[in-house]
């Protein structure tokens, strides 16, 4: 009965001995051969299917991202409408009070061709052909301030960033309006200097450029207050600032060409707080 159940078959030739032979052969040929065979199988048989799986998963993510982006566009459109109304109202009030009009600028995109040097805190950018920049013009990203152009050679421009030891930016706390000077502290961190001990400044506050000195326009985001410390023997607070721009991840920046004063409907979106 056992022989009938497990050995004898009506079909010839029997494949099982060959399957066992090939299995033993694979064992004898060794680990290296099996590894090569495995790589070949994965590369030539499985790879297209893994690629297909990845593409399908990515497509599914695209739908979600698209939905989220549509929601954000709707929110930003509403916010943009509110901001435009506020801007018009602000301009009318400034006009009534006789104050100077806020700045306005034309934005030129540029590509970072040499990242920020750890030794000096400068970087090189390249503007598109036909566009030009000038020394002294501010450089920003969609997140906030990066630095200013200090040298121009054709389409290339050298930018002194906030992480240069010579860089100084007049800035203030957006919440309490406490003013100070932004300078490089260490690594990616900045500090807000000349802040009195009794000043109202807290961790998490947003720091924006004040426009004093007329180098950087007013209202550009610089960073957020990371920590506030009192150091013995020092007349000012030690305010550490986390920059909104990640210096190591800069790929594209925008150079702002300062123009006269703002028109009622020409605010550069996203740059102003």
């Amino acid at each position: 009965m056992w022989r009938r159940l497990f050995w004898w078959t009506t079909e010839r030739p029997t494949v099982l001995p060959w399957a066992i032979f090939f299995s033993i052969l694979l064992l004898i040929l060794g680990d290296g051969f099996r590894r090569q065979l495995s790589e070949l199988t994965v590369d030539y048989i499985y790879a297209p299917f893994y690629d297909m799986k990845y593409r399908i998963a990515a497509s599914a993510r695209v739908f979600d991202e698209n939905r989220e982006l549509r929601r954000q566009i709707a929110e930003l459109s509403l916010e943009n409408q509110r901001m435009r109304e506020s801007t018009i109202e602000n301009l009318q009030l400034r006009s009534l009070l006789g104050l100077a009009r806020p700045w306005r600028g034309q934005v030129t995109s540029a590509e970072v061709v040499s990242p920020i040097s750890p030794a000096s805190g400068v970087m090189w950018i390249e503007v598109a052909a036909g566009r030009y920049v000038q020394s002294g013009w501010p450089v920003v990203t969609e997140h906030g301030l990066v630095g200013k152009v200090v040298e121009v050679r054709g389409n290339l421009a050298r930018v002194r960033t906030l992480w240069d030891r010579l860089s100084r930016v007049a800035a203030y706390d957006q919440r309490s309006r406490v003013t100070g000077i932004i300078s490089w502290e260490s690594g990616p961190d900045l500090s807000l200097t000349y802040i009195q001990h009794q000043a109202d400044i807290q961790a998490g506050d947003t720091v924006i450029s004040s426009g004093w000195g007329e180098v950087f326009p007013k209202g550009l985001r610089v960073g957020t207050v990371d920590s506030v410390a009192v150091r013995p023997g020092e007349p000012f607070l030690h305010v550490s600032i986390a920059a909104v721009v990640e210096p190591g991840l800069l790929e594209h920046v925008f150079v702002i060409e300062p123009l006269a004063s703002i028109e009622q409907d020409s605010l550069p979106g996203g740059l102003l707080q």
Partner: protein, 173 residues
């Protein structure tokens, strides 16, 4: 047509394996489509094709693991051959008997797979047997019989496996 059917079978096994890999450690309960496919081929086409398909499918499923590809291929081959032989010898036309053969075959496969491929201690095996191997086996054998029924119904031309076997036997006699 036969080549296309084989390509479809192998493609479906690969796609299932890519989407639902066996994993290490393996999940508590998993629909082992590759095992069901081997058993179905053995049941439908006999021990010769079952052994060949089992070796090929077992090798493909374990191809990414050079340490266990041989065991995977060999166990697949044995499963396909065994189901084919049982089908041939026992004339399994009733669904319950097919289910029983599937269960026994897949249980044997899973037990040897647990010992040879997954490893572990005898204490682990004793724990895994009632908690993981047996439920998975029952699910897979039930799924296999269901797919087999659907497959038989979808076939419109050609004699059934039993008719082929009977025809062969009558020729031999």
């Amino acid at each position: 047509m036969r080549l296309i059917r084989w390509l479809l079978l192998l493609t479906s096994v690969i796609i299932y394996h890519v989407w639902f890999p066996i994993g290490n450690p393996p999940p508590m309960v998993r629909l082992d489509y590759e095992i069901v496919a081997i058993a179905l081929v053995g049941l439908a086409r006999g021990p010769r094709v079952g052994a060949a398909a089992g070796w090929g499918i077992g090798f493909l499923v374990h191809a990414a693991d050079p340490d266990h590809m041989v065991w995977g291929a060999l166990l697949g081959s044995l499963l396909g051959w065994l189901i084919g032989v049982w089908r041939e010898r026992l004339f399994l036309e009733r669904l319950t008997s097919q289910w029983l053969v599937f269960t026994l075959g897949i249980l044997g496969y899973k037990v040897f797979y647990m010992i040879l491929v997954e490893g572990g201690s005898p204490a682990d095996w004793l724990l895994d047997l009632p908690l993981r191997i047996l439920p998975t086996t029952l699910i897979n054998s039930t799924l296999g019989v269901l797919i087999g029924v659907l497959w038989e119904r979808s076939r419109t031309a050609g004699p059934s496996a039993l008719e082929k076997v009977l025809a062969d036997d009558s020729k031999r006699v």
